[in-house]
């Protein structure tokens, strides 16, 4: 069986259990973060956030305050604000910022924070608003926040490419990953273009930009949900034999050129927005030529953006399959065996066995 392979354990060991309990306790003390994610301004994030605050207050009787809202607001937003308690912003270097101390002193159960990606002037305690929010959470105050995809740190380059301009403010994606809940505010692009005074071509281009941003927002949320699901299944001791995400595993060997499989794998991963993984089962007795091929294949795999793993095991096909299962792989790419050995060809080589035993996982055999 695989040895230096970190398989998902069926039963968590005591250390992990302890870590889980401690994390659970920390999570209980810490406030809960809920984020409304939109891909542009005008999709209705603020309204959704404020409406959630209103419902929590009126229906659940929670103690809700508004910590920060956008200044330019619509009648709909103003009507909601009228029904909520607002902690006024304070001035810092002549710029209005969220009054963290006033909120901590007021100590509500829930605080609504619009524009999670705002940054603060240099003389403020925290450079970024998300750090203000972190402080509220640390103090046991739950936060409902809204954020525009364009301001998420890791997405900025991609967004800048699409929009043709850089944004200054940002919030790290990992911060969103810690949110208890993330909710996408989706709308067709035409609804947030409004009455922009631009010609037909400009409008079309803008619509396309927005569609791309929208796709990124949806996929980002899908990834967050995927991690939540994984955590949930792990905590409840359920195996994950199923995945909403396609994961492609390329079987790298010292014999076959892996380039066609990696090309196809990275194209498939891109089209499915899935993951590309490469793995080889280590063998001690490699001939020099085999070592060269293997090294070249591994280099290609890393260049293709694959996450590469070395596995240890007696039986290559069985080792690879165990690894594939532990990672929720949906397709394994393998090269045709090149063996001319009649015995192997009739009794079945490793690829035959892979096909035979790959229960629940597709196997794609590539020409050599």
């Amino acid at each position: 069986m695989a040895q230096n392979l970190v398989l998902r354990p069926e039963r968590p060991d005591p250390d992990e259990l302890l870590r889980k309990v401690m994390a659970e306790e920390a999570r209980e003390r810490r406030g809960k973060l809920k984020v409304f994610l939109g891909y542009a301004s005008g999709v209705g994030k603020s309204v959704r956030m404020l409406d959630e605050g209103r419902r929590r207050r009126e229906r659940n009787g929670e103690d809700v305050v508004v910590g920060a809202t956008q200044l330019a607001s619509t009648p709909e937003v103003r009507a909601l604000l009228d029904r909520l308690e607002v902690i006024p912003l304070r001035m810092c270097d002549g710029v209005p910022v969220m009054d963290v101390d006033a909120i901590l002193a007021r100590k509500p159960q829930v605080c609504l924070v619009d524009g999670l990606a705002h940054d603060n002037p240099p003389s403020c305690r925290n450079r970024y608003r998300w750090q203000d929010v972190d402080e509220l959470l640390e103090n046991g105050i739950s936060v409902v926040a809204s954020v525009n995809l364009q301001y998420i740190e890791e997405q900025r380059d991609q967004v800048a490419q699409i929009r043709g301009r850089e944004v200054e403010e940002s919030v790290p994606q990992a911060f969103l990953g810690r949110a208890t809940e993330i909710e996408v505010v989706d709308a067709p692009p035409d609804s947030c273009i409004g009455n922009d005074p631009c010609d037909e071509t400009g409008r079309l281009r803008r619509e396309q930009q927005l569609a791309q941003l929208r796709e990124i927002a949806l996929l980002l949320a899908a990834d967050v949900v995927d991690h939540q699901l994984e955590r949930y299944l792990l905590e409840h001791g359920m195996e994950q034999i199923w995945s909403a995400n396609e994961r492609f595993l390329v079987w790298i060997t010292p014999h076959a050129d892996a380039a066609p499989m990696l090309d196809s794998g990275s194209r498939n991963a891109r089209r499915f927005h899935g993951e590309l993984i490469g793995a080889y089962v280590a063998r001690p007795d490699l001939a020099p030529a085999e070592r060269v091929t293997l090294e070249r294949n591994l280099k290609l795999a890393r260049e293709a953006g694959a996450e590469v793993h070395a596995l240890d095991g007696e039986d290559p096909a069985a080792t690879l399959l165990a690894f594939a299962r532990s990672r929720g792989v949906t397709q394994i790419f393998a090269a045709h065996g090149s063996s001319q050995n009649w015995l192997l060809r009739t009794l079945g080589g490793p690829v035959d066995r892979l096909i035979r035993d790959a229960d629940g996982i597709d196997v794609r055999v590539f020409p050599q």
Binding site: K34, E181, I182, E183, V184, V185, D186, A187, P188, L204, E207, Q208, A211, Q212, R214, E215, L218, L219, A221, A222, V225, D226, L229, Y232, L233, H236, M238, E239, Q240, I241, W242, A244, N245, S264, R267, N268, R271, F272, H273, Q331, H336, R345, T346, L347, G348, V351, D352, I355, R356, A358, D359, G360, I361, D362, V363, R364, V365, F366, P367, Q368
Partner: protein, 385 residues
């Protein structure tokens, strides 16, 4: 010159479970259209006894349902003819995936919607992601529920826009507990099927990914069109992306696993923008062996493939594997999809399985062996009986 009525625009409000707020959103859209001065009616509305939703109906014109008798019971269905006579600009229609009662002109509500779209009426409709044909096996795998009311993917691809209604499972489960989604008894049953936290999270992830896929499909189609327009106006061809064009051949048998094989192959073809064919090889040697049931099963699979808009072929040959591979070569197929045989011969000495034979013969193309999926342990237990 008489102008042909432009086809209506279809908008789909996509959710992942009952109670996420699809119908409410649909009615809001209808109100918004009305505010903008659009002549809009409600063609079908499913109240589910939800107060908030029913209240949103106020101020909207509703086309009365049609009553249909079936085996002594009266059913109510959408009155497509009445909507056509009323001829509004836009029509809101709940539950896109609904199956009409026998005796209706068309079997499915999505087919009724095609009639309205063809008449130039815009349609706003609602559906859950689990009703999408290509996701049927995946949904079964993690939920244990085999969804019967499905919509072919091409119908959804026709939509001008797909908008997601998102809601975290926690919030949805709270709604369920408050009785805002189902009556208490129904809520208890629902909690055992789709309404389990892990199942809801999985469905939600599928809905997010599917919406992203739909959004991408639309803007890439738009940019292809823009590139084509540029070509027409400038006469300069844009360099085409040098990506391989895939052609997928799905080889079916009489085995029930063929349905899942077709769905899987078609899904991969859609994502890769590949051409897709389904073939069944009738072996001359085995002709006598094919029972009536098997013949019927093959016909059913071929019809299913056609309903998904896949080209189908029935081939004849002495040797099934050889015929298949010859056909693939002749048609420049890049990938063959086959189901993993359940009786995979361990000692392939006497007679290798079809998969083994094809893998050995088709050494110049990719062969994808699709494995049967099993239900996850996180899925609901199978219903008794």
């Amino acid at each position: 010159m008489a102008e042909l009525a432009a086809r209506g625009r279809l908008k789909i409000i996509l959710g992942y479970a009952a109670g996420v707020g699809k119908t409410y959103k649909m009615l809001e859209e209808a109100h918004e259209l009305k505010r903008q001065g659009v002549d809009v009616v409600v063609g079908y509305f499913e109240p589910h006894g939800r107060k908030d939703t029913i209240a949103r109906l106020e101020g909207l014109e509703v086309i009365p349902r049609r009553r249909i008798e079936y085996r002594g019971v009266t059913f109510e269905e959408m009155d497509t003819d009445a909507i056509l006579r009323r001829n509004p600009q836009s029509c809101a229609i709940d539950e896109f995936a609904h199956t009409n009662v026998p005796g209706s002109e068309r079997g499915k509500r999505w087919e009724d919607v095609q009639i309205l779209l063809n008449a130039g009426i815009d349609v706003v409709t609602t559906m859950n992601v689990q009703h999408l044909e290509s996701l049927n096996d995946q949904v079964w795998q993690f939920s244990g529920v085999r969804v019967r009311e499905t919509i072919p993917d091409w119908v959804v691809q026709q939509a001008h826009d797909v908008v997601l209604i998102d809601l975290p499972p926690d919030a949805l489960l709270n709604r369920l507990k408050r009785g805002a989604v189902y009556s208490p008894e129904k809520a208890r049953i629902a909690a055992q099927n789709f309404f389990r936290e892990s199942t809801l999270a999985a469905l939600r992830e599928l809905a997010l990914r599917q919406t992203a896929h739909e959004v991408e499909g639309r803007y890439t189609a738009d940019s292809d069109e823009a590139a084509a327009a540029e070509l027409r106006s400038t006469g300069v061809a844009q360099p085409l992306a040098a990506e391989t064009h895939d052609r997928i051949l799905i080889a079916i048998t009489a085995d029930p696993s063929s349905a899942a094989l077709i769905r899987r192959g078609k899904r991969v073809a859609d994502y890769l923008h590949a051409d897709c064919f389904v073939a069944f090889v009738q072996s001359r040697a085995d002709l006598a062996d094919l029972s009536v049931e098997e013949r019927k099963a093959v016909e059913k699979h071929l019809n299913f493939a056609r309903s998904l808009r896949i080209e189908t072929r029935v081939l004849e040959g002495e040797d099934v594997a050889q015929t298949l591979v010859d056909f693939a070569r002749l048609n420049r197929i890049t990938q063959i999809f086959l189901a993993r045989s359940r009786k995979h011969s361990r000692l392939g000495l006497l007679r290798p399985s079809l998969v083994q034979q094809v893998v050995r013969l088709a050494r110049d193309m990719q062969v994808t062996v699709v494995a049967e999926r099993h239900r996850s342990s996180a899925a609901a237990p199978a219903p008794p009986g």
